[in-house]
Symmetry: C2
Subunit: 274 residues, 2 copies
Amino acid sequence: MPQTDAPRSAFDAATAVTSTDGGGLTARLDPGWDVGPGILNGGYLLAVVARAALTASPHAHPVALAASFLRATPPGPATLTLTPGPAGRTLAHSSVLLAGAEGPSLAVQVTTATLTDEPPVYSAAIPPDATPVADCLPPVDDGALPHPLPEVGLRTRVHTRLDPVTAGWARGRPGGEPYLRGWVRLADGREPDPLALLLFADVLPPTSWATGRFGWAPTVQLQVLVRALPAPGWCLVEARANEVAGGWLDEDYRIWDSTGRLVAQSRQLARLPR
Amino acid sequence: MPQTDAPRSAFDAATAVTSTDGGGLTARLDPGWDVGPGILNGGYLLAVVARAALTASPHAHPVALAASFLRATPPGPATLTLTPGPAGRTLAHSSVLLAGAEGPSLAVQVTTATLTDEPPVYSAAIPPDATPVADCLPPVDDGALPHPLPEVGLRTRVHTRLDPVTAGWARGRPGGEPYLRGWVRLADGREPDPLALLLFADVLPPTSWATGRFGWAPTVQLQVLVRALPAPGWCLVEARANEVAGGWLDEDYRIWDSTGRLVAQSRQLARLPR
């Protein structure tokens, strides 16, 4: 149980939703979770949407979210229109439509359930042999890298330690594989949970950066599956594009907790950076 | 162009949607596309939903569908409620709610666009070294197998030739890996297109069958990405579960056309067979 006198986590505050007198839900989208001027991170928005879905669910956790990114969502006041679907003992469905100042921007199918940390009966998702956190790229630009991670809001909210094995591009030596991995945790010290895993499911730069293409790859549709309650500590996040064709790319994420347990998977379809 | 005197494909007929006078859309769900008594195949339903989305899109093809399976959809009359989203030169978004006799059963986020067969600029999705079609399992039960594919409607609509390398279970020798692959094509002779790929994205038995667990694994949420226009001929379909835990499993599909080109990917979260 959290101590009642503990300072509220920045992540919890920035993803909070509020019930209105009319029975609706609102949020105040925090400009600090951006990945570029006025562009909020998709995973951050999913965490807000999941909180809205949980307000009407008998279950405690998001287990599957599928989101269409209709248009960019600006920071500021937003409304969440929640349409509950069937709810049972095992799981509950709902749809959530997030609308910012410029209209509906994110349409999401949500499934909630109650996750556990009971061990898998089968797992083929072995974590990669990643470089230890202490030997990864520095969390902030210390001037040593020709192409550091941009100092966008998201990087000050999520400590991101890229594995140097997949970050040749940061040293001016991009590779041939659209593959990135790194360790992440919330900068506010809050331990990971299913809501934080939604954030982590879109937390790395576009995989095209690994090949030296540094544009922004706008997400078109993103599915995230949360598979277990994560243990405290750093999460290892891996992102890989499997196919780049016709102006489209997919990005597959796998996330393991500090014990090496697979805790989330995501797949997005995105447009190729120009 | 199809010849105007060609007999209509059974798949096209079974997935047709009709505009009503009131501006709505209806379909007549064909009981022949079942995977068990009264249970229609999820991929078949997605093809119907995609046709509904295309009626209001400036684009020709489904490229991303994400569906929440709210409850089983019975055969018979169904309505499709289409909510168009933003539409542009590159892509269009919409939401479709499918309702059968028992109420809303499938809530889907759809993205449409116009696909090509231009070669990929990057691909890491190399097709597996599958057994040639002629040496695969027989398409119908010839009495030689202790556990053949059940003769459900879907198998008479889709020719399914399982690779014996992944079908030890059919011979009474299940393996340890939840992995299946096989060749598929429409029984009506119609060549594959993006709508058929939606069908193929959920066409194999549950991957748990490979390990000797023969129950039904109900889909909770399914995302399908269509990546290119498929060439004529057989498609190779591969399904793999990565993690089975807490009563949940994921199933990842990859589909290649007859030239070995990756043409679709899907991922579903399902409940474990009892």
